[in-house]
């Protein structure tokens, strides 16, 4: 059961550290996924996420409308990520919608670690997607799953574009898996198994 972020924020502003920890529990995964979506290294991503939480602490007592907390956090970490990229002269990386021809400092996320070969194939296919697709899917993968409002501000895209883009990126992911000969959940009985013939794409 997820506690109401508004109540948590008010409690944290009043000095309740348990409420603060609950906020961390709820949103840290989202912040991490956003930073990783910007292809920051472990150290840079950690820096951006920590800075975001410190910024929230700075602003705790001034908050009057906490209903947009996730969006505020998402925007703040996005800005910290862009700041990291700018400081290191890498800001152009996210300008390119399709190329992934530069080394990703977030590697190695070693697919070899995965016992399940289908999962490894899935991850390899993901890494072949355009940067924008990877970024969107990485944020959508956050646990717990973020609201579309938070995703929209995190990636600076309209809320209405998320659904269609998500579908297009997942379709490309399936195509990539098929092209590489990797079967998607080829084992029978998997709920997320292969797409049946004639299924809408």
């Amino acid at each position: 059961m997820v506690a109401d972020p508004t109540e948590l924020l008010v409690a944290a502003a009043g000095g309740d550290s348990a409420a603060w920890n609950a906020l961390v529990e709820q949103y840290n995964g989202l912040l991490w996924s956003i930073a990783r979506g910007f292809r920051l290294s472990n150290a840079d991503a950690a820096d951006a996420v920590q800075t975001t939480w410190l910024r929230l602490v700075e602003n705790l007592s001034r908050i009057q409308d906490p209903t947009r907390l996730a969006a505020w956090l998402a925007t703040t970490v996005r800005r910290e990520c862009l700041s990291v990229l700018r400081r290191s002269g890498r800001e152009h990386l996210m300008d390119d919608g399709d190329a992934m021809d530069v080394p990703d400092p977030a590697e190695p996320l070693d697919a070899q670690l995965l016992v399940d070969e289908r999962d490894a194939a899935l991850w390899r296919a993901l890494r072949q997607l355009p940067a924008r697709c990877q970024q969107l899917l990485r944020v959508l993968m956050a646990a717990p799953p973020p609201s579309y409002a938070a995703v929209a501000v995190a990636l600076d895209i309209p809320v209405g574009s998320i659904g269609p883009t998500r579908q297009r990126c997942l379709d490309r992911l399936r195509s990539g898996l098929e092209a590489s000969g990797d079967l998607l959940g080829a084992e029978s009985g998997r709920a997320d198994g292969p797409i049946p013939p004639g299924a809408p794409s």
Binding site: L54, N59, P145
Partner: protein, 189 residues
């Protein structure tokens, strides 16, 4: 208050949504659940769920990141006035365009209505040395990091020096003549 750059944010084209005042540009969080668009295909949800599982295995939030996030609460300084970042040569687009290497001196300014901080940072590998100038306050200046702090004295001209500071997040705190403490916003050096 959340926008550190009153003259226009060089980092993002969009202002941070201000959670202290009503703002219609960003919709309120949905309470209906994570996926507030109902037309997603079931197989898409299933595939995303699988990706989430793989991601949790390959790229989980590091424990240290969670510990730091929790510890941030302990850095709250409820009595201090916040000095906002007004300039940072490392993220100023014009300065960045002129920059040949990343190893040059970085200049950062913070201010409130009455107190100004000018911080000149010189990188030395993983360490930083700082020459600072504070106007509007005198006495000691506290150099705080998430893991500790040290205290330096402002000289007669408001200058202070810090050497061998580990690269990372830092903020500065002074107490002006008025007696009301002022702390800068956090900055990553």
């Amino acid at each position: 208050m959340t926008d550190e750059r009153p003259g226009g944010d060089p980092v993002s084209d969009k202002p941070t949504p201000d959670i202290s005042t009503p703002d219609e540009r960003v919709p309120a969080e949905q309470s209906a659940g994570p996926f507030d668009v109902a037309d997603a295909a079931p197989e898409d949800d299933a595939l995303l769920a699988r990706l989430r599982g793989v991601s949790a295995e390959l790229d989980p939030v590091p424990e240290l990141v969670t510990i730091s996030a929790r510890a941030a609460f302990g850095m709250r300084d409820i009595d201090a006035e916040l000095a906002e970042l007004v300039r940072d040569s490392a993220t100023d687009p014009a300065a960045v365009a002129m920059r040949g290497t990343t190893d040059e001196i970085r200049i950062i300014s913070f201010s409130t209505e009455t107190v100004n901080f000018e911080i000149q940072v010189t990188p030395e590998g993983d360490q930083r040395s700082i020459l600072g100038l504070v106007t509007g306050a005198s006495g000691p200046i506290e150099v705080q990091t998430p893991s500790g702090h040290r205290t330096e004295e402002l000289d007669d001209l408001g200058r202070f020096w810090v050497s061998e500071l580990e690269a990372g997040l830092v903020r500065f705190k002074v107490t002006p003549e008025s007696g009301h403490p002022v702390t800068t916003t956090w900055v990553s050096l």
